[in-house]
Every structure is written in structure tokens, then in C-alpha cells.
């Protein structure tokens, strides 16, 4: 009886679905077709929001030199820190060139989201960039991104309350003042493990079976976390800036991305230094940090691999790195940019470059298993700090983490 409904419904569905299917067939075979660089190209560039204005300027200069290549600079949907998920959602719709922290390169390369760089670019990066930067963007012998900045946490402090000497050692730092930090963040806290003498993924940071934290050294680091709970000079907080402003804390552990905000809060009392020394396992050792390299990678789905590669190279050249430093406090990685007077006179850059030296920091590994590591390391440190994990469980917990993150 309801022939009309059924029919109208059925045929409408058939028609609509077919138009959908037809569209798909047209668009689904858009893969990495290759055009020569002289051809016209429209590129999209993803950068973090606050960097959009000056990269627009840099991209304009690029277009002036490469008349056929148009560049659209837009913000990374959820920030470069989430490049992996943003690109992974639909690589063919993602930007041709996008900003990405180096620890995601391994997983993105394995997934096939990004192209290795050309041999010339690789050679250039190996020769002209600081050593950690070229290492940071190399995955299984190939370079996957044009590096443009280095990031490491340092200690920011109020110099009217603490002297430069005070912040050289954790003991004096925490007896003379209060340092605010976050034990629920593995990025901030795991490097104490390095200070304790353990390796996350071997000496080169890429060895899946090279973890050594399931050891006495690892337990020593956990003991250090647990001890900080009762240290009056250490404040656990998720809002360190606010504590710094209110004077509840005189120092915080933070990264260059927040330097501008901290400067606003501390004004002329702003000071920055490399991490202090800490006592782990009865030895006084340098407190270490993760070293991150920010770079621009090339989407493997791009239709203009050559043009995209040219763009990525251009926006990471010396002038561009210096602009990024001037505008957003990004610390360059190109040797001759690092040595420029602007960078040399910047205390934040000085501290980060100091932290970047071997022995002060460890490059973030790029293994895809880092996803598991971030998921599991934070609860371990947080639980140890607040006592939910008892000393008797330390060894077992470390063993479990080591096993989980070394799975293929």
C-alpha cells in the first residue's frame, strides 16, 4: 500500500547514494601524482596559530621568487603538537607542508604520511644544521623534516628572590624558594630517569630493545620523584604560571613556548637558566630534559612534491629562522643562525642552547612506540610522586612499562 513512500524513498536513496559514490570515485584516486616544479602549484602550509602572520610574510617572499607557486598559510587544526592525529585523520586533505615536532616523525614515516627529503636537502641539513637538529629529524637513515627550531625546558625564575647560584642546585633552589612543576607530565619529569643513568631507547634513542630503566637506576629515579612529595620547596601544580605570579613559587620548569607569557608576569625580574643539579641515587647529577626539534615535513599525498619541498626549505632558511626567533622566540637550529647576534643576546635562547648540549638533554625518540610510552609513563611518575605506587611495586611497574614500550 505504501508504494509511494517506498518508491520515493528508494529512488531518492539510490540517486543520492550514486552521486556520492560517483564523487568518491572521482576523488579517491588522487594520490601522489608528480608534477615538475616549473608547473603551477597551489600549496597549503600548516603552522601554529600565533605564527600565521609572519609565515604569511615569509610565504609571500617565497611566491615572489617562485612565481608559479601559490601558498596558503593557515593554522594547524589542533596545533602542531597534534600533527600526527590531524594529518592521520585524512592525509589527502592535510596541508602539503606542515609543522611537526620531531618525536612524531617515526610514526608518521612508518604510516607513510610523509616523504623523506631529497638527497641534496639531506646533505644540506647534515652539513649546515647543528648536530642534534639533523639527528632529531633523521629516521632509519633518512631525513624526514626541515628543522627550524629547538625546544627544551629550562628553569625560569624570579631573580629578585633567587640568585643565579641558587638555581644551580635543586637542594639550594628548593630550600631558598619554591619551584612549581608538574609531576603528571612525563615530558617534564621523565628525563630525571636519564639523569639517573637509564636509557629510554638505547644510546641512539632508536633501539627498541635498548631500554635500561628496569634497573636499580630506574628505581633510584622513582625514589627521587617520591621524595619530592615531602620537599616543601617543590610544588605540584597544573597552573605553574599562576603560582609564579602570586609569588607562591619563585621558579618554574617550562619551555620556550611560554617564555613570552613568563616575561609578562615577571617583568624585570625575569631570569632563565639551565636545569639545576639533582641528587639521584646518592650522586649529584645534571637534571636533564627532553630535547625537541620542530620542523616542517612534507605530506606524502601532496601533488607537488617538488614545490612543497622547495617551500619547506625556504621557510626554514636563515632569514626565516631569525624571523621566527624575533616574532615567537623560536630558537634556531641552523648553525649560522644560532651564531647570529640576535640569538646570542637572547637569554632564553642561550639557556635552551645550553640545555641542548649532550649531557643536559636527550633527543625525543621517534619510535612509533612513543605513543605507548606517553600513555603509560605519566601515570607511573604521577603515581610514584603521590604515593599511590608503593616502593615495593617500583621494580614491577618499571618492568611492565619496559615490556609494553618495546613491543613491536
Amino acid at each position: 500500500m505504501k508504494i509511494w513512500k517506498k518508491m520515493a524513498l528508494g529512488s531518492a536513496a539510490v540517486l543520492a547514494a550514486m552521486s556520492l559514490a560517483a564523487c568518491s570515485n572521482g576523488s579517491s584516486d588522487s594520490s601522489s601524482s608528480n608534477n615538475s616544479s616549473s608547473k603551477k602549484a597551489n600549496l597549503t602550509l600548516w603552522v601554529d596559530t600565533e605564527q600565521v602572520p609572519y609565515y604569511k610574510q615569509i610565504a609571500k617572499d617565497f611566491t615572489k621568487k617562485n612565481k608559479n607557486i601559490k601558498v596558503r598559510v593557515v593554522q594547524s587544526p589542533n596545533g602542531s603538537a597534534n600533527a600526527k592525529t590531524d594529518v592521520g585523520k585524512d592525509p589527502s586533505k592535510a596541508a602539503d607542508v606542515f609543522e611537526v615536532p620531531n618525536d612524531q616523525l617515526g610514526q608518521m614515516a612508518e604510516a607513510g604520511y610523509i616523504n623523506p627529503l631529497s638527497p641534496e636537502a639531506t646533505k644540506d641539513i647534515k652539513a649546515n644544521y647543528i648536530d642534534v637538529a639533523s639527528k632529531g629529524v633523521t629516521w632509519k637513515g633518512k631525513v624526514y623534516a626541515f628543522p627550524y627550531a629547538q625546544q627544551a625546558q629550562t628553569i625560569y625564575y624570579n631573580k629578585s628572590k633567587l640568585s643565579a647560584n641558587d638555581v644551580k642546585d635543586w637542594k639550594t633552589l628548593t630550600s631558598k624558594g619554591v619551584v612549581a612543576t608538574d609531576f603528571t607530565n612525563a615530558y617534564v619529569m621523565w628525563p630525571v630517569m636519564f639523569s639517573a643513568g637509564t636509557k629510554l631507547y638505547g644510546a641512539n634513542g632508536e633501539d627498541l630493545k635498548g631500554s635500561t630503566f628496569d634497573s636499580q637506576n630506574g628505581v633510584n629515579a622513582l625514589k627521587w620523584y617520591a621524595a619530592q612529595k615531602n620537599n616543601k620547596g617543590v610544588m605540584q601544580t597544573s597552573n605553574a604560571l599562576n603560582q609564579l605570579k602570586k609569588g607562591n613559587a619563585q621558579a618554574i620548569l617550562d619551555g620556550p613556548w611560554n617564555a613570552a607569557n613568563i616575561k609578562k608576569i615577571l617583568g624585570k625580574n625575569f631570569a632563565v637558566a639551565k636545569y639545576p643539579k639533582i641528587d639521584v641515587g646518592g650522586k649529584s647529577v645534571q637534571m636533564e630534559a627532553f630535547l625537541g626539534i620542530e620542523g616542517f615535513a612534507i605530506n606524502s599525498h601532496t601533488k607537488n612534491a617538488k614545490a612543497a619541498s622547495d617551500l619547506a626549505a625556504y621557510i626554514t632558511n636563515k632569514e626565516a629562522q631569525l624571523i621566527a626567533h624575533k616574532e615567537a622566540g623560536q630558537i634556531p637550529v641552523l648553525k649560522n643562525a644560532v651564531n647570529s647576534s640576535a640569538v646570542k643576546s637572547d637569554p632564553v635562547a642561550e639557556a635552551v642552547i645550553e640545555m641542548a648540549k649532550p649531557g643536559n638533554s636527550v633527543l625525543q625518540p621517534k619510535l612509533p612506540q612513543m605513543a605507548t610510552f606517553w600513555n603509560e609513563a605519566a601515570p607511573l611518575i604521577s603515581g610514584t610522586y603521590d604515593g599511590k605506587i608503593k616502593p615495593s611495586q617500583y621494580k614491577a611497574k618499571l618492568a611492565k612499562l619496559q615490556k609494553d614500550i618495546s613491543k613491536k
Binding site: I3, S11, V14, A17, A371
Partner: protein
């Protein structure tokens, strides 16, 4: 009367239609709509005919390959990076895009089902016309057929667009999601993946996620019961308070409570999280009042799971009570007064009246919507995601915290570090099964309640 008689008119089997029908009728078995066209039902006939032609063309040129490839989800499983010497750059040969293959495979299946359905419709229409002709009755004209769309077939007219919406934006995605659970779509196979049967179910129910799944499931159920019960019970009480005799400006009071709806939850809950922070305003106020000697960890990572869970339920009351207050208000307004009066005369006090008359009546009326609220709470994403983000962390769990519900864990598995799409699809199916079982039992129970 006449209508009824027509209804019991002798039926015809399709065999009879086939053997005794005229050429156009016979043709209808192959060319849809030919019978309708022969009977001058142009619109219907053309619609059927065009649908068939479009379908066949699509099926030959695209449908066969779409369905064929569905079996393997694409032939090329791994990418290949090659050096393009001409340009001097590396280029990646992409593997098959299994997401699209799966999506359009599901779409193609739905399309085929729709076509089969349409074919049956065509046959029925043919038979109907045949019977009318055989019995010498009037075959509806084109105009009559169209007019019936606004009368006896009004339901068809009004339902077409909503049904299409449901088909494309709910049914298709749901079927797609269900199929994903049977693949190895995860971070190791992000573009090309394959069918792996029940492997993902195994991971969740007995593999590396089982240690997280069962505790999180337990908390999800406790949460859903607690959240539903507290908001309902206190919502009723609040409604009764506002509706009680002597209270003036009832609309004003109601508005005060409802304002929190106007503020988007991503700010009200975010600010609530700051309010409850260890260094937050609430702890500061309590400290200044000397009610506590040291700050309390409510929902941060140092909080004990129990405190955090209680806090979350309390905050949910703040969000949820106004809604159930509004719902109960008019029920209370419409409650029959006589029973209450009778009870009063018998000397019952307010508490007794509430317990044995008002509350059961409200419960009776609201039972179905309570079940819906319960299911809504199982899937209550916002409160947990925005308020605690799952905190406090739990070192025993994999990718979830102590206050994470199944649905927020599902979100973490999809959009977080690990990107285990297949596992989250499994979770989606399991959440569905739980919701279905619970509501089945509950509906049974309320039905029995109604009859008793």
C-alpha cells in the same frame, strides 16, 4: 464498508500475475515501472524506470568493483617510497585507502538492498494494478496517486527526508563503525588495513585492554546509576520546593537554576575544573574560612579515585538537576489532588505523602525518560572529558584514568596517542550491547510495573 470489502478482495500470487498478466505486466518483472507506465501512472513508472537504469549503469561501471574490493579492503597493503630522479625528490606510492573502500562498500551494499526493496515495491504495485484490472476496478490515475501523497500516504511524504537523513548520517556511519571492529585498523595500519575477524574483540575482552575494560565498565555503570538517580531524585525535590505553597515568583526561581544551560559546557566545566583545582578558588575559600587545614585534592591527578568520582557525581548534579527539575515541575502540576487530600485527612504527614503518593506517581510517569537518561549517562562525554579528562591517572589502566567512562576512553583510543580505531569500534559495540540489555530489562520492568 466499501474499503473493507476491497481489502479482502481475492489476492493473486505472483505466479498468477506472471502467467495471466498482459505484456506490460510481464515486462515489469524485468523492466521496473513498465506496468505503471502502461496504466498511465507516469510519475511512478518513470521514477521506477529511471532508478533501475541508473542502478544498472552504476552497478556495471562501479558497483561490481566496489563490492569486489570489499572482500580484501584493497590489494596494496603497504606504501612504497620511490625516488623521482627527474624532480630530485622522494615520492610515496600510497597503499589502498581501506577507509574509503570500506565506506563505499557499505554504501554499495545499502544501495543494493535499496534496489531489491524497490524491485519488490515494483512487483507489489504491479500485482496491485493487476488485481484491480482483473476485478474490473478503477486503477488510480496519475493525479490521484499524487494526491494520495497528501492524504492516505501522508506518512510517506513526511518521512522521506528524515529517513534519508537517518540513512546517511546514522545508519551508514553505524554500519561502517561496526565493520571497523572486525579489522586491524590501528596505528600500525592507518591507511590500508584488512579483515581480522574477532581479534580486536579478543584484545578488549581478554588481551591488553581487558585490565582496563572491566574496571572502566564497572565505574561506567556505577556512574550511570548514580548520576541518573541523584539528578532525578533531587530534581523532583527541587521542583516540589519551588512548587510548594507560598513560594512566589516561581518562574524566576526556575530561571535561576536553568541559566547554567545557557553557558556552554566547555567553559562552565573548564572553569569548574579550575574552581576545584588543588590551588583553586574553592580550596582557597575553604582555607580562609578555616574549614579545612590543608587543601583537598578534588579532581586533580593526586586525588584519590573515590574523592574524584564523588566530586564528578556532585558536579553532574549541578549540571543535571535543573533539567530534571523542569521535567518534574509540570508532572507535579498535573498530579491528581484527590489522593493527597485523602491522605491528609487520614493524618499522613508531608514525608509520608511524598514517599507513598507523590514520588511513586512521578516515578511512574518518568520511568521511560529515566531509562533514556540512564543510557545518556553511559554516554555522557562532556562532564568527564571537560571536567577531569579522566584524572586521576591510573597506572593500572591502559590509556584511561580513574574517572574515565567507556565513551571517553573510546575517544582517547581514537584521537589520543595510540589511535586504535578497531578497539574503539569494539568498545562502541559493547556500549551498545550494554545499553540494549539494560533498557530491555528496564522496559520489561516498567511494563510489569504498569500492569501491576
Amino acid at each position: 464498508m466499501f474499503l473493507k470489502k476491497k481489502h479482502v478482495a481475492p489476492k493473486a500470487t505472483y505466479r498468477e500475475v506472471w502467467s495471466k498478466g498482459d505484456i506490460a505486466t510481464k515486462l515489469s518483472f524485468f523492466i521496473m515501472g513498465s506496468n505503471a507506465l502502461a496504466n498511465k501512472q507516469w510519475v511512478k513508472g518513470l521514477a521506477l524506470l529511471i532508478s533501475e537504469i541508473v542502478f544498472i549503469v552504476w552497478f556495471i561501471f562501479s558497483g561490481i568493483s566496489t563490492l569486489g574490493i570489499l572482500a580484501t579492503l584493497g590489494p596494496i597493503k603497504s606504501k612504497k617510497v620511490v625516488y623521482d630522479a627527474a624532480q630530485g625528490v622522494y615520492i610515496t606510492k600510497q597503499p589502498s585507502n581501506s577507509v574509503l573502500i570500506l565506506l563505499f562498500g557499505v554504501l554499495a551494499i545499502i544501495l543494493c538492498i535499496a534496489m531489491i526493496y524497490l524491485y519488490i515495491v515494483n512487483l507489489r504495485s504491479t500485482r496491485h494494478n493487476y488485481i484491480l484490472k482483473r476485478d474490473g476496478e478503477h486503477i488510480p490515475t496519475n493525479v490521484q496517486e499524487l494526491k494520495s501523497l497528501l492524504d492516505t500516504r501522508l506518512h510517506a511524504t513526511l518521512m522521506v527526508i528524515p529517513l534519508l537523513g537517518i540513512l546517511f548520517f546514522t545508519v551508514l556511519p553505524t554500519v561502517f563503525m561496526i565493520s571497523m571492529a572486525f579489522t586491524n585498523y590501528d596505528r600500525q595500519h592507518p591507511i590500508a588495513f584488512s579483515w581480522t575477524g574477532f581479534q580486536a574483540f579478543g584484545n578488549v575482552l581478554s588481551g591488553d585492554l581487558a585490565g582496563t575494560f572491566f574496571p572502566v565498565l564497572g565505574w561506567t555503570l556505577i556512574w550511570a546509576v548514580a548520576a541518573t538517580a541523584t539528578t532525578f531524585f533531587f530534581g523532583v525535590l527541587l521542583a516540589m520546593l519551588i512548587e510548594s505553597k507560598g513560594i512566589k515568583y516561581k518562574a524566576f526561581w526556575r530561571t535561576v537554576f536553568v541559566i547554567i544551560w545557557a553557558v556552554p559546557q566547555f567553559v562552565s566545566l573548564l572553569m569548574m575544573a579550575q574552581f576545584l583545582d588543588y590551588q583553586g578558588a574553592l580550596n582557597n575559600i575553604l582555607m580562609n574560612l578555616h574549614w579545612i587545614s590543608s587543601p583537598i585534592h578534588f579532581i586533580d591527578n593526586q586525588a584519590s579515585p573515590l574523592v574524584a568520582r564523588i566530586t564528578v557525581i556532585l558536579v553532574n548534579m549541578w549540571i543535571g538537576i535543573p533539567v530534571s527539575m523542569l521535567v518534574s515541575t509540570a508532572i507535579i502540576q498535573n498530579l491528581p489532588e484527590d489522593q493527597i487530600e485523602a491522605a491528609k485527612i487520614d493524618g499522613a504527614n508531608a514525608v509520608q505523602i511524598f514517599r507513598s503518593i507523590t514520588f511513586p506517581q512521578i516515578l511512574f510517569v518518568m520511568a521511560p525518560s529515566l531509562i533514556q537518561q540512564f543510557i545518556g549517562n553511559i554516554n555522557n562525554f562532556n562532564v568527564i572529558f571537560l571536567l577531569t579528562g579522566g584524572a586521576p591517572m591510573n597506572s593500572k589502566y591502559n590509556g584511561a584514568g580513574s574517572t574515565d567512562l567507556l565513551v571517553t576512553w573510546l575517544y582517547n583510543l581514537t584521537f589520543g596517542q595510540e589511535q586504535r580505531y578497531n578497539a574503539s569500534a569494539v568498545l562502541g559495540i559493547l556500549i551498545f550491547i550494554i545499553s540494549a540489555v539494560v533498557s530491555l530489562i528496564a522496559y520489561r520492568h516498567t511494563n510489569a510495573y504498569k500492569e501491576g
